[in-house]
Symmetry: C2
Subunit: 259 residues, 2 copies
């Protein structure tokens, strides 16, 4: 199994970095190939701007269009091309990050904003009466699987079905479904560590064991059964879920998960 780990924490001695290091050693020991994009160590440029598109940058700048022109011409910056190449190489992608303000740190969002260009991650495939592009279950990155490994400061109850922050599955849905499933990646249930603000060193061995177990069962873990876009569940082009497909009373993001 070829695994890319995208890691987003500024401190090499942090829990996040320990989990990243443990993933590398655990997977390599099990015979897998591993590559790491350690965004802070790479001094990853987090911000989309005209410099990303070189001579493909129009005036005025059109972010989506220009990113596609540069992608097609092979003139995206080397850092972005390297990440796209890693994604095409990988069979599994692990994202290791702390939840900051209910989503990923800016440096990781900037990795998405810059690497997931037009014609690579979106604007792929034909639009017709029965197909609205290759998205949500199809796309450039189809055949790959991803896993979020996330640390959360607060306790689990705050992220439960009735917890004040909202359910963790809903908080992660825009990443799982909107960022990863959109270009075709299957998404495994996340590995979430809660209460890390109050964690002490003695807590580490147990959670390291839990992480190792997840890593060593990646290949047998079933992905979240998101609904595919172009296979009958959605009206085209409104992309609204057809009536009657969901269990009674289900609403919101949960509609897009098969029962």
């Amino acid at each position: 199994m070829k695994t890319l780990i995208v890691h987003a924490h500024p401190e090499p001695q942090s829990l996040n970095s320990a989990l990243k290091d443990l993933a590398v050693t655990t997977l390599e020991k099990a015979g897998h190939e591993v590559r790491v994009s350690d965004l802070y160590a790479m001094k990853w440029k987090a911000v989309v701007d005209a410099a990303d598109y070189g001579s493909a940058a129009s005036k005025p700048l059109k972010v989506a269009r220009d990113s596609g022109v540069a992608f097609d011409a092979g003139t995206l910056t080397p850092d972005v091309r390297a990440e796209q190449e890693k994604l095409l190489w990988a069979e599994t992608i692990i994202f290791q990050f702390p939840m900051w303000w209910y989503t990923m740190p800016a440096i990781l969002k900037g990795w998405v904003d810059r690497v997931f260009t037009y014609h690579f991650a979106y604007g792929v495939g034909e639009h017709s009466d029965i197909k609205y592009g290759e998205r949500f279950g199809e796309g450039t990155l189809a055949g790959r699987r991803a896993l979020l490994s996330v640390t959360v400061g607060g306790p689990e109850s705050h992220y439960s079905a009735r917890g004040i922050n909202g359910p963790i599955d809903d908080l992660l849905f825009p990443i799982h479904h909107g960022i990863l499933y959109f270009p075709g990646i299957e998404v495994l249930p996340p590995f979430v560590l809660y209460g890390v603000d109050r964690m002490i060193r003695a807590d580490y061995p147990d959670l390291a064991k839990a992480w190792e177990r997840r890593l060593l069962t990646l290949e047998s873990t079933e992905p979240i059964p998101f609904r595919r876009q172009n296979f009958g569940d959605y009206a085209i082009p409104s992309l609204q879920l057809k009536e009657g497909l969901e269990p009674t009373g289900r609403t919101g993001f949960g509609l897009h998960v098969r029962s």
Copy 2:
């Protein structure tokens, strides 16, 4: 009314920048004071790192704790202190940005990550049997109101109750509730423009009129009625919504909005 506009688009000739400019002129013409944080023009540093905390940065770095130490000592970097001062000055805060991958661009997330420090935006107030910090309806920024003005590439149906992307209110909930309401800001219903990828110049006058109408009625617009944390709706410290408060069948993020 003192209004801060936080603007996140790289192109001064973009629709987003036009909406930002229109907000400035409309509000100033109506007699309001306006300040603008144009993050791209300011070359805003998007990434949290040890340099943010100066001599308060511990080794190893502890992002939350160190940011609070630096805040208390007044030694955060000048760019961050300036933004905190603008937030304290403002009565209304408008965020102008394009939806990129279902949330804000990295540069704006980096503004949140760096400006919303411990002891300023979180870790405020006492924890007791009846209070779990000043959060969600209380906090440093209480008494202020915010409005997201967001451009979206796709059509509105894709963001409707049954739309494939998920309902827009749920996609924006982590920003509305998790980022803004958390430190005490009341949140107005968002101004969302859909289908901007296919928009033409002739569409602009009508949407400019709609934006002006929203701007000139900010003071009379009712905020989204999020539930306050410390006033009886939630069990403390689990912060789970008590049973029976919501309309039958409501689940997910919607639980945290009063009927």
